[in-house]
Structures are given as C-alpha cells and as structure tokens.
C-alpha cells in the first residue's frame, strides 16, 4: 500500500510553516535552531517525495547535501550560542544586536 505524494507534500508544507513560525516568533536561540532543523527536514521530505514521484535520483542526492549542510550549520550555530551565552549570560536573540546599523 502506498501513500499518495500529495500527502507527503502537504506534510512538508505544514512542517515548513511550523518551522518558519518558530524562527520568527520565538526568542530562544535553541528553539530557533530546532525550527531551522524543521525547515531543513521539511524541504528534505519534499525533495525525496518528488524524486520518488518522478523517478529521478537528483532529489535524493540533494537531500543528502541538505543533511550535510544542516549538520555543519547546527555545529556552528550551537558554537555561536555557547559563546554568546558565556559572554552575555543570557540567550535572548533580540538582545544580541551589536551589529545594529
């Protein structure tokens, strides 16, 4: 039994929307990072779905690329969060605005 691709794409869109709202609405950087992971994986799900539907391996390969980039991003972002917390003692992203123009 197979599930129709529209369902996967719909799930991907829902996940993506949740991720966008999480990034924009929350001020905790850890939550924001998790939301970004949601964004990545929503797009991964869409890529894999379309790859299966159109019998084209490019989507699979691209999903692997996204996973790699996501891992690198998580490492750097968590490092930034840790460094910020050590120097500022708080982790509200709205307070971290030293590069304000």
């Amino acid at each position: 039994m197979s599930v129709a691709p529209e369902n996967y794409v719909g799930l991907s869109a829902v996940l993506f929307f949740i991720g966008v709202v999480g990034v924009i609405a929350r001020r905790n950087p850890l939550i924001m990072l998790m939301s970004i992971e949601l964004l990545f994986n929503a797009s991964n799900l869409a890529l894999v779905t379309y790859a299966r539907a159109w019998v084209n391996n490019v989507g699979h390969i691209f999903a692997f690329l996204v996973i790699t980039v996501a891992a690198a991003e998580a490492a750097i972002a968590l490092a930034i969060v840790v460094v910020t917390f050590r120097s500022r003692r708080f982790v509200d992203v709205d307070e971290v605005s030293a590069l304000k123009g």
Partner: protein, 667 residues
C-alpha cells in the same frame, strides 16, 4: 649597394656605441666618432659614378604595405648633400675634439653628433616621402639634443625647447602634405609621386598642388628659419659652436632647400607655390641681413647671416633656379662652416666671450682665426673669385631669368647689406685695440651679471683681474679642419664658372625640370651694347657689394673710426632702434599671441577645471558611497528575527511571483 647601407648605418652605430660606452671610451670617443663619419664620406666618394648615373643608386630596405617600399636612394641631388654632411661633418667632428676637450660630457656630444649625421642622411637618402619625414623629425630631435647640450644653462634649455616646438609646427605641415599626396596617389615613392605631379597626369588640381607645396613649405620655413618661423635660429646659438657650424649653418637648416629641390616637379607645376616661396625667401634674405647689422654677439650675427643666406637659397630653388639654389647651399656649407669654426676659435681663445664689442685687435694675437674669418667674409660678401660670389650671382641672376625682377632687386640689395655687416663684424673683431679689459658699461653693454659690480665681480668666463687677454692659440685639431675648409671656401665657386657650360650645370644636366617660361617671361637688363644681361647683373651686384663694404669701412674700419671705437660702440648700442634690437618684435608677438594665451588657458584649467570638475568628480565618489550607506543602514536592525521575517516575506513574494507568472502567463 652594400656601401650605401654602410654610409647610412655607420653614424647610427657610432651614436649607439658612444652613447652606451661613452664613459669607458673617455677621450677615444672623439676620434671614434670622427672616423665613423669619415668612412661614410669615403664610401660616398667611392659611389660617385653610380650616383651620377641617370637614375642614381638604389638600395631597398623593407616593404610595408603594398606599394609602400622603403629604400635608400643616392642620386645627384642627395649626393651633393651626402658629401657635405659627411665631409664637412667629419671636419667639424675633428674640430670638436679640440673644442669640446675637457667637457664633462665629451662622449655624449659625439654620440649626439653622430646621431645627427645619421638623421640627416636618413632625410636626404630616403627614396620616399615617409622616410623623408622620419629623417626630418629626427634631425629636429638631434638639434634639440645639441642646442640643449649644456643643459645646466636655462637659456640653452629654453632655446632647445623653442627650436623643437617650432620645428614640430613644420613637421605637421609636411605631414599634411604627405596625407594629401597619399590620399590621391596611394604611393609614397618619389618616382610614383613625382609622376603624378606632371601636368599630363592631372591627378592633382592646381589647387591641390598649391596646398601640398604650402604644407611642404611650412616644413621648410620651420627647418630653414624662414620668416615667420625663423625666431628659433638665433636662440639656437646657445649650443656649442661646432653644433652651430654643422647643424645650424651647414646642413640641417638647409634641409628646406633640399626638400624644394627634391620636389622640383611639384614646384615647377605650381606657379603660385613658386611665387610664395620666392617672396618668402627674399623677405627672409633681406630681413635677416638687416638684423645682422644690429647684433653684437658674434654667433648671433652669423646666425642672422645664415638665415639671410638660406633665404637666398630658398628664393633660388623657389623661383625655379634649382641648380643655382643648390649651388649656393654647397658654397654656403663651406664658408659658413668656416666662419663658425673661426668664430669658435675666437670664442675659445677669449674664454667664452661672444660680444664683439669686447673683442677688437685680435688680428695680431689670433692671426690664424683672422685669416679664416677673412676668407669666409670675402666669400659670403660675394667678392669675385671667392665661392660665394659665383653662387650668389647665380641665384640673383636666376631670379631675373625666371622673370622675377623684384626678387632680383631684393637679392642685390641684400648682397650689399651682407657685405656691410660681415665687414663690420670683421673690423670690430679683428682691428683696432683690444677692448676686453674695458668696463662693459663704457661700451654700452648692460650685462645683468656685470652691472653694478663691473670692476670686481668675477662672473663665470670673465677674468677682470687679467689685464692682458689670455689668447691661447688653437690646437691643430681645431686649426686643421679650418685650414682644409679654406680651400673650398675660395675654390669651389669656380665649378660654376663659364655660364651654361660650367661643370656644375653639366652635373645637373637634365635633373631638374626646366623653369616654366610661360608663366613668367625672362627679364633682361639692358645696358650698353657690349654687355650681356648676365654680365650686367654681375656688375650691378658688385657695385652694390662695394658700396656695402665702403660703408662698413668708413664706419668701423677707417683709422678715425678705430680710434674712437669705444665711444662709437657705446653710442651705437644706446641708439639701436628697438625694432632691430628686438628682431622686429617677432618673439614679443609670439609671446602675446601664443605663449600668453596658453599660460592663461593653463591657469584657467588650474583654477576652474581642475578643482571644480576633476577634483569635484573624484570627491563625489566617496560622498555618494556614504550617502548610499546611510540609506541602507536603517535595515540593519540587529534583530535576528526581523531578518528571518524579511527572508520569509521575500521568499513568499518570490514564489508568489513565479506562481502567478507561470500559471497566469500560460493561460
């Protein structure tokens, strides 16, 4: 043919070698430079028989475009010039070894001189109009180098610059003439170009031919110091005296004569050009001679006499008496070189004194210089038997023969003035008592460096503590070439003895086109029946010359004049008319017409254009960058979530646009 390449290239090799290895060669630079001029001279003599053949000797060099072949050509006309350039050039090189001895740039001097000879040979040996222009430009460059040779003298530097700028004016004239020629004929070789000038071919309208001749003549006027482009020549005397002898008397300044003689087919087909050239030549001859009467600097007197004599030559070749004009070039090269070299001996002996008022009585202390100058003066004044007599007679008779009685009259008058100012030079310099130890202000001289401290100041070159002049005799290196030059100064004129059948006329038989007697019928002087017109013109010329000599003798040579020389010279200096002392205000006019406006334009650019256009434009770049940055800094809130929202909204807009564009556009 190989020899011809050698003639052309040896001076260039010499110039490069002396320039590159001058410091190592030390005093060998002079002999090497001289030898590299003598070998081409000997080779040219060796090539004589080939050169006098009807079409001359031809040596190809390179082909550029189709029909644009560059080569060397030695025919009768360029043979005359090549022999003078290398022959007289060699003598002057030898003289320079003595004259320039001890100069700190000895080798550089000979490198420049060899370069000049190479440039001049390029000019006269080229077989096409482009090569001619190349040589024309290079001699101007060599002249610039050598006038400004003593570059620590500001006057020498400005004189060199002036000469170069005025010569470039002439170069541009020739360039435009070449443009016209090439645009109509497509060829640059003399043979093809001159073929197009013959009336049968009618490639050029008379108007075009006049324009070409005008362009070429602007070049001649600049190079050969013809009115109104003559003002650089007297200033060019700032260079060392051998340079004045070789470049600004014997060879380079006669390039204009060569050009017109070379383009004889053009001039013979364009009566307007002949008229213009003849008149300018006559005006220059007369104007230069009159200015020669008003000068006290020995080299400037000779410079104005050069200008005047070249006026004769230009008048001769201009009216169609080509062989007479070229003959005057030949004799002038000898006697004027000799006059300059003799003057150089005097200047050298008196430690760079050039003012004839501070000379006098040098006949006894410098007898050799006196003999040299005397023969030169006799030749230039046109005393029978000396070379200048024959050639000057030929030129003025040529003017009459080609139907220009007014030019003839000016030529005769100028001959009288020439005799006057040349004998004036001779009397003031060599007769009477020595005046070098007289206070300059007693002679009416207002030397800026001598005024005020006249008796005590030891300015450079003058040694007031020396009561008796230190007249050191010239070395054999200086007197030898002058002694050799005395022979042709006296004898070369006899080549043209005997009218139509003379050796000179035979030499150029069939080379130049015949003067067009249709435009101007020949004029004959009518005298007593037993005298031919030719003989009568000679007699008239001689009478005028004798009158000129007599006036000079009464004013400067007779014993009362010699006794009162100091007070006489003082009065004359003070009473000198301003128009003569300032050389007809040509320099002042150029100053007011060109130099001042150019400075004013420069100041306007400096005050207005530079700060308000260029600098302001440069300043606008950072100012606009700053403004742009100010505009966008409000977006940098520092709020990460605001950035994220911006990105999200942007993505939504982006996707929405494409969604509408593709779905909506497809319907």
């Amino acid at each position: 043919m190989v020899l011809l390449y050698l003639v052309w290239l040896l001076p260039l090799i010499g110039a490069i070698a002396l320039w590159a290895f001058g410091p190592q060669l030390k005093s060998w630079a002079g002999p090497i430079g001289s030898a590299l001029i003598f070998v081409p001279f000997a080779a040219t003599v060796f090539l004589w028989n080939d050169a006098v053949a009807p079409h001359g000797l031809h040596a190809p060099l390179v082909s550029w475009l189709a029909g644009w072949d560059f080569g060397l050509q030695l025919d009768r006309l360029s043979l005359v010039w090549t022999l003078i350039i290398t022959g007289v050039g060699f003598l002057i090189h030898v003289y320079s070894i003595g004259y320039m001895d001890g100069d700190r740039a000895f080798a550089r001097f000979f490198a420049y001189m060899n370069f000049f000879v190479f440039a001049m040979l390029t000019l006269v040996l080229s077989d096409n109009v482009v090569g001619l222009l190349v040589g024309w430009g290079l001699v101007g460059l060599a002249s610039y180098f050598l006038i400004g040779f003593w570059f620590y003298k500001p006057t020498a530097v400005s004189a060199a610059r002036k000469a170069f700028v005025m010569n470039v004016v002439g170069d541009v004239g020739i360039l435009f003439a070449i443009f016209l020629i090439v645009s109509r004929t497509g060829a640059i070789g003399y043979g093809a170009v001159f073929h197009a000038f013959t009336p049968v071919q009618s490639v050029f309208s008379p108007h075009d031919m006049f324009l070409i001749a005008l362009g070429l003549f602007i070049g001649c006027a600049a190079k050969s110091a013809q009115v109104p482009l003559h003002t650089w020549l007297p200033d060019a005397m700032e260079g060392p005296t051998p340079v004045s002898a070789l470049i600004h008397a014997a060879t380079m300044v006669t390039a204009g004569v060569y050009l017109i003689a070379r383009f004889a087919p053009l001039w013979s087909s364009s009566p307007d050009a002949q008229e213009l050239t003849g008149v300018i030549g006559a005006v220059t001859a007369l104007g230069g001679a009159i200015l020669g009467c008003a000068q006290w600097d020995i080299k400037r007197i000779l410079a104005y006499s050069t200008m005047s004599q070249i006026g004769y030559m230009i008048m001769g070749v201009g009216v169609g008496a080509y062989d007479a004009g070229v003959f005057h070039f030949l004799t002038h090269a000898f006697f004027k070189a000799q006059l300059f070299l003799g003057a150089g001996i005097v200047i050298h002996a008196l430690a760079n004194e050039q003012d004839v008022r501070r000379m006098g009585g040098l006949r006894k202390t410098l007898p050799f210089a006196f003999v040299a100058m005397l023969t030169g003066v006799l030749a230039i004044s046109g005393v029978p038997g000396f070379s200048g007599f024959f050639s000057k007679d030929a030129v003025v008779y040529g003017a009459l023969e080609t139907g220009h009685p007014w030019l003839y009259a000016v030529g005769v008058l100028t001959a009288g003035i020439t005799a006057y100012y040349m004998f004036r030079l001779l009397f003031v310099t060599f007769f009477g008592a020595y005046r070098g130890n007289v206070d300059p202000s007693d002679l009416g001289i207002r030397h800026p460096e001598l005024a005020g401290t006249a008796s005590t100041a030891a300015s450079s070159g003058h040694h007031p503590e020396e009561e008796e002049p230190h007249h050191h005799a010239p070395s054999w290196l200086m007197s030898g070439p002058v002694a050799i030059l005395i022979l042709p100064t006296i004898l070369i004129g006899w080549l043209d003895f005997g009218g139509a059948g003379s050796r000179w006329q035979q030499f150029f038989e069939g080379f130049f086109p015949h003067p067009s007697s249709i435009a101007y019928p020949p004029v004959e002087l009518r005298g007593p029946g037993f005298m031919s017109s030719e003989l009568l013109t000679t007699v008239v010329l001689l009478v005028v010359v004798v009158i000129g000599f007599a006036i000079a003798y009464v004013r400067y040579g007779a014993s009362p004049a010699l006794r009162g020389a100091i007070s006489r010279l003082r009065t004359e200096t003070i009473r000198m008319p301003g128009v003569l002392a300032n050389a007809y205000y040509f320099d002042a006019a150029y100053e007011a017409l060109f130099v001042k406006p150019a400075y004013a334009l420069g100041r306007w650019f400096y005050r207005v254009v530079d700060p308000h256009v260029i600098d302001a434009g440069v300043r606008e770049v950072p100012i606009s960058a700053q403004w742009l940055g100010h505009l966008f800094r409000s977006f940098q809130t520092g709020l990460v979530r605001a950035y994220a929202l911006t990105i999200a909204v942007g993505v939504v807009c982006f996707v929405a646009y494409y969604a509408f564009a593709f779905t909506g556009g497809a319907r």
